[in-house]
């Protein structure tokens, strides 16, 4: 504000933009391009969410991010018996291509980058998105965005799996291959630590499990015959930003260094873009309190600042009312404004890696890296020299779920015993009940409307075309060397439902049931 001119970077090398990229993936970081302000939204019917998307874009959001409801995430239709009470509640309901048309109505898919948070049935939703784009004369090759498609963390933390791990991995490598050849601007996997952290892990575990999953996808894709430099530049990551400010910053910096080194040294990547750990960050939903919800605005601002100081490429800030319900439009706007304040008022975007060289930050970065390396060594040994096999083994033997539960419980006990202060919860309280607030309520009519819409689509479509598309899909699924994507695109174009496609695949792949671990 005083007008003091600043350089793009301070301190000794390696600089931002130089291997191993501890200090950032680009030389001048946010001076050349700010992070994408990508707010996560989805509720009710596709039309409800479409309206919220347009509101976000009108308010200066620079990317879209789609939240699907539980039945959609689990690969089931809105009329499934378990879907009762869940349709459109915690995300948007998408059963068929017809819903996808409403979801992105009047949004130019050739120009907006879209992120879709879905995993088990990711390739089906991706097929719908591709089919929709082509209906609106947008080439699949010009689509840009990200589909989460990270199934490994589902077995470890988020629990939205459908098929067992190995056939799931085949679906993922199929999508990696498909996008590598046909959709050069698309990110086929967003390797996600966010949910691992939300489920209870600590920062080094979040980092280590996420990067290990990333190594596992690399090993699987290479085993499927792909060249590492053909797909690795399009892998991206998704981290949590929690409340321990310097630990989080150290975590982000360590992530870049570890990924770069492993990609180069262990997996032999030649292309520098394969070594870049590019990530989206979301502030920590689990840290938000229902007690005195307004103070969550301050928590979110600090967590977002850590994400920016850590060098995120994209950021979602949580809304202050999310400990109670999905965000209202007002709360979501405040969350977006928080990012804009950080970007345009604080000056932190003027210098790349402003904390680089701080003795504490550098030590923390090294320490988190060291702890992550211990976990990689464990997984490597568990998999007999393969991280992919180590991850499968850790899923089978409950290592991930158990380690996450232990960390979460340790944190909970510290809060209970008052060793760790949570403002508004165990200190500085104002009574037990948050009281009535203006919350986003999902009208039960949404479920009724969606069921009718699904029934109408089923009535309108050509049943024999659906049946033959699903039969073809089953044949392709049974043949591991055939890519599942083309048959999936044809099935969604015939208006087969997500649930029907999943059922056709379950007939070949089976269904995963976890052993309950408390």
């Amino acid at each position: 504000m005083s007008g003091i001119p600043v350089d793009p970077v301070y301190g000794e090398g390696p600089n931002p933009g130089e291997y191993p990229f501890t200090r950032g993936i680009r030389p001048s970081m946010y001076r050349s391009r700010l992070w994408t302000m990508r707010m996560f939204a989805g509720f009710g019917t596709a039309s409800d969410t479409n309206a919220r998307f347009k509101e976000i874009l009108r308010n200066g959001g620079t990317g879209l991010s789609t939240a699907f409801d539980m039945p959609t995430l689990m690969g089931r239709d809105s009329d499934h018996e378990w879907a009762l009470g869940e349709v459109g509640r915690a995300g948007v309901a998408v059963d068929t291509l017809a819903d996808m048309r409403d979801l992105f109505a009047d949004i130019d898919l050739g120009h907006v980058s879209t992120s879709m948070t879905i995993n088990g049935p990711a390739h089906i939703i991706m097929a719908m998105y591709i089919a929709l784009a082509e209906e609106t004369s947008v080439e699949r090759s010009s689509l840009s965005g990200t589909i989460q498609n990270d199934i490994l963390k589902e077995y470890q933390a988020q629990k939205e799996y459908i098929f067992p791990p190995r056939p799931s991995m085949r679906l993922i490598t199929d999508l990696i291959r498909f996008t590598a050849t046909e959709m050069p601007r698309w990110h086929p996997v967003s390797v996600s630590g966010y949910h691992i952290r939300e489920a209870g892990s600590n920062a080094p575990q979040e980092l280590a499990f996420t990067l290990a999953n990333g190594f596992a996808y690399v090993e699987a894709a290479v085993a499927a015959g792909l060249d590492i430099d053909d797909f690795a530049p399009r892998l991206s990551f998704f981290f949590n930003s929690h409340s321990d400010f310097f630990e989080e910053i150290g975590k982000f910096r360590a992530a870049r260094r570890i990924w770069a080194r492993w990609m180069k040294e262990r997996y032999g990547a030649q292309d520098e873009r394969s070594m870049l750990c590019r990530f989206h960050t979301q502030t920590a939903g689990v840290s938000l309190t229902a007690q005195q919800p307004e103070i969550n605005v301050a928590r979110v601002a600090l967590q977002a600042l850590a994400a920016v100081l850590g060098g995120s490429q994209s950021l979602h800030t949580d809304s202050f009312d999310e400990a109670m319900a999905l965000p209202t439009e007002d709360a979501a706007r405040i969350a977006l404004r928080t990012q804009q304040i950080i970007a345009y008022e604080t000056g932190v975007a003027n210098v790349a890696d402003p904390l680089g060289g701080s003795a504490y930050v550098e030590w923390m970065t090294d320490e988190i890296e060291r702890r992550a390396e211990e976990i990689f060594a464990h997984l490597d040994q568990l998999g007999d020299g393969s991280i992919l096999e180590g991850v499968y083994a850790g899923i089978d033997n409950g290592y991930f779920v158990g380690a996450i539960a232990d960390s979460g419980y340790r944190f909970e006990r510290a809060v209970n015993a008052g060793r760790r202060i949570v403002v508004g919860v165990n200190q500085f309280t104002e009574g037990d009940h948050p009281g009535d607030r203006n919350l986003l309520r999902i009208d039960p009519q949404v479920e009724v409307d969606q069921l009718k819409r699904l029934a109408d689509v089923k009535k309108s479509r050509n049943e024999s075309a659906v049946a033959s598309a699903l039969a073809e899909l089953t044949v392709d699924a049974a043949e591991p060397t055939v890519n599942i994507m083309p048959a999936t695109i044809r099935a969604v174009q015939a208006l087969a439902t997500e649930g029907e496609i999943v059922a056709a695949l379950e007939a070949v792949f089976g269904t995963y049931v976890e052993t309950a671990v408390m």
Partner: protein, 133 residues
């Protein structure tokens, strides 16, 4: 005179996969000496009723995070009552304040707010079980 330990069935009904809170509560109750029958994810109402019956459980604990509580919690209560099981249903998760009264009217015994301490969880379960017998 020592009481037999409380036996509680903990489950998540339907698709909701947010099991952190439920696993936490399971450990809190176990550490407090309760016998926890932890069913985990993707349970049906019918299965929970069957387990309560087989295991002769004293209480059922459910956790809901996706705004499905107004539909699923009352359904759990009626399914238990229809099977002549008078066990209390204890609900936790993301439950807005304004939903508490209708859920209590529908027969839910206790609603644990977010951030409930281990002490609050254990005493709520003990209270609900004691007031039944």
């Amino acid at each position: 005179m020592s009481q037999p330990p409380i036996r509680i069935v903990l489950a998540k009904i339907g698709f909701d996969g947010h099991d952190r809170g439920l696993r936490m509560v399971a450990r809190m109750l176990r550490d407090a000496g309760c016998e926890v029958i932890y069913l985990g994810l993707r349970q049906t109402t019918e299965n929970v009723v069957a387990v309560v019956e087989q295991e002769d459980a004293d209480a059922v604990g459910l956790s809901m995070h996706n705004a499905q509580h107004l539909t699923l919690a009352p359904r759990m209560v009626s399914a238990l009552r229809n099977a002549d099981l008078e066990v209390p249903v204890i609900l936790g998760g993301v439950i807005p304040d304004q939903d508490v009264a209708p859920l209590m009217e529908a027969g839910v015994a206790v609603i644990l707010g977010p951030g409930a301490s281990a002490e609050e969880v254990v005493s709520a379960v003990r209270g609900a079980v004691a007031s039944r017998s």
